[in-house]
């Protein structure tokens, strides 16, 4: 190609080749934000009308969720308690276990086994939640029922265990990343002072990675709060404030999933379900902000 022709093309093409990609990317980004905004607006618009039917106090403190009785009761306390209980118990199961798995992969297992472990974890993460729920229903529930002589094996413990399995890969892989990010030179310094491998792991590596592990745990928690299918299938579905870990519960998410299809659009029940959606969104938003704060503090350090 003659030099002049090339120069001319470059000159005339400069505008388009500069502007087009920029425009496309900007449009894509803006439409994402726009969509997000509308989803939130829609959620609020559909959720708020319930407040004209019942007071926020009744919703927050009422412990009866009878949306189709007359008069209907919209006490969300048992549902909220169910969500919190299942989430917390799943974290109690998954956080120590996930951290231990991460420590094993980053500091204990030999280099060759590491890839195998990481891939296995990822496969665990790929498991569709409905498959896990299914396992909970047909394997875990009958076993628990027989073993602990319960009324039902579909309960908080069952659901929390499955949720724990579900969020384990999230917690373990993210924790492992932050453990691996702890410089080898710090491990060397510890060894050179006469520390054993385990002392080094628990007194240097773990504390140095603590912020990363905390944010991994919160991200796991976020998944656990929002997860629907597993709790719908395995939690038992009774809208009661749990007194013990083997009590059945009905978290917010599974309530929405179970009842949305059977409620008339625009009815108070419908609005109540959307209100729950708002609550869930608020909750995950707060957790997310917490993670962002921890992360920015970590970067600043």
């Amino acid at each position: 190609m003659p030099k002049s022709a090339y120069g001319k093309m470059a000159a005339s093409g400069a505008r388009w080749s500069e502007k087009a990609p920029r425009g496309i990317v900007t449009a894509a980004a803006l439409s994402g934000i726009w969509l997000m905004g509308f989803i939130i607006l829609f959620l609020i618009k559909e959720g708020m009308p319930i407040l004209s039917e019942v007071s926020i106090l009744d919703i927050a403190s009422g412990n009866r969720w009878y949306p189709v009785s007359s008069p209907p009761r919209y006490g969300m306390l048992p549902l909220f308690a169910g969500s919190c209980a299942v989430t917390l118990l799943s974290c109690v199961i998954a956080i120590p276990f996930g951290t231990a798995v991460a420590l094993f992969i980053s500091d204990v297992c030999p280099e060759r086994a590491r890839e195998f472990c990481k891939v296995s974890l990822e496969i665990l993460g790929f498991l569709p939640s409905v498959v896990l729920g299914f396992l909970g229903m047909v394997v875990l529930a009958p076993w628990m029922q027989a073993k602990f002589e319960l009324l039902s094996g579909l309960n908080m413990l069952n659901a929390s265990f499955l949720l724990g399995v579900m969020i384990l890969p999230t917690i373990a892989t993210l924790s492992e990343d932050s453990l691996r990010a702890v410089s080898q030179s710090l491990r060397d310094a510890s060894y050179a002072l006469g520390a054993t491998r385990f002392e080094t792991m628990f007194k240097v590596v773990l504390p140095c990675a603590s912020r990363g592990i905390v944010s991994a745990a919160i991200l796991g928690m976020m998944r656990s709060v929002g997860e629907t299918m597993v709790v719908l299938m395995a939690s038992g579905g009774a809208a009661l404030i749990p007194r013990f870990i083997t009590d059945p519960v009905r978290p917010l998410t599974s309530t929405i999933a179970a009842e949305m299809g059977e409620t008339p659009v625009g009815s108070p029940h419908y609005h109540a379900l959307f209100f729950m959606g708002c609550l869930l969104m608020l909750f995950t938003c707060l957790l997310n902000m917490l993670v962002m704060k921890i992360e920015s503090a970590r970067r600043a350090k």
């Binding site: 410089s183 710090l186 310094a189 510890s190 050179a192 002072l193 140095c208």
Partner: protein
């Protein structure tokens, strides 16, 4: 030479079973309460050698060590040796300052806490005496609870020295301790090394020949995994017996 604190006898080392030797047949003596410098071009094995002296190479899978390393006459590679106890006796300071991201106090107290020391006033005493020996006490006495990473590079390196001497070692290994520091901080560390030899035996790896000449009593010159020559520093720098040593110290290569 008798009275050697640390002595290697035909030490050879390879990073794995079929890798070539990284160190070949090295016999050298480090006299008690002296500073011995190990010099040589990059990749000559001087850092590898240093890491053999407190068995830091153990973590490299499949590493092969032949010959003996004697600390006070007993072989540190003998099967009954407790490696953690050995590393407390033979402390190490690394190339880049590597303080833990804890407070200054916690950094110095770390080794003692591993040993089970819980008495706070005893720990405070050790922290103060170690920081004083490292020439850092005056600068940090009012900010012991501040994070160690807030110190300057030179201060961090002196903190690492304080941390190493807090477990009262007998030997200090220093792996190019000033290579990441500016000239002023380097001068302070060099001064400190000269002080430290009163209480410790120091083995220091350096790429800086002037530094070796300034601070060491004896010098060993390494080349491609072999010990070319070792002896009193003045002798090595004025009348080297091997032409390769002369070429190196006169700047003909390296």
């Amino acid at each position: 030479m008798d009275g050697a604190k640390l002595k290697t006898e035909s030490l050879s080392m390879a990073y794995s079973a079929n890798a070539p030797y990284a160190l070949k047949d090295i016999s050298v003596d480090v006299a008690e309460n002296s500073v011995m410098a190990f010099i040589g071009p990059s990749g000559c094995g001087k850092s590898t050698f240093l890491r053999c002296l407190n068995r830091m190479n153990d973590f490299v899978g499949g590493v092969r060590v032949e010959g003996r390393v004697l600390l006070d006459g007993s072989d540190i590679y003998a099967p009954e040796v407790d490696v953690t106890a050995l590393r407390r006796k033979v402390g190490m300071v690394f190339q880049r300052p590597n303080p833990f991201p804890f407070s200054i106090r916690e950094n110095v107290a770390y080794g003692q806490k591993l040993l089970g020391e819980r008495n706070k006033s005893r720990l405070d005493e050790i922290v103060e005496s170690s920081l004083s020996s490292a020439g850092l006490w005056e600068e940090v006495r009012d900010r012991l609870n501040e994070p160690a990473v807030s110190l300057s590079g030179g201060q961090q390196q002196r903190l690492c020295i304080a941390r190493a001497i807090a477990v009262s070692p007998e030997v200090l290994l220093m792996d190019e301790p000033t290579s990441a520091l500016d000239p002023l901080a380097t001068a302070r560390i060099e001064e400190l090394v000269r002080e430290l030899k009163k209480d410790y035996t120091v083995a220091i790896v350096t790429h800086n020949m002037q530094q070796a000449a300034r601070i060491s009593d004896a010098t060993a010159f390494f080349l491609m995994g072999e010990l070319v020559e070792a002896g009193p520093t003045t002798g090595i720098f004025t009348t080297p017996s091997d032409p390769r040593t002369e070429d190196y110290i006169t700047g003909r290569f390296g």
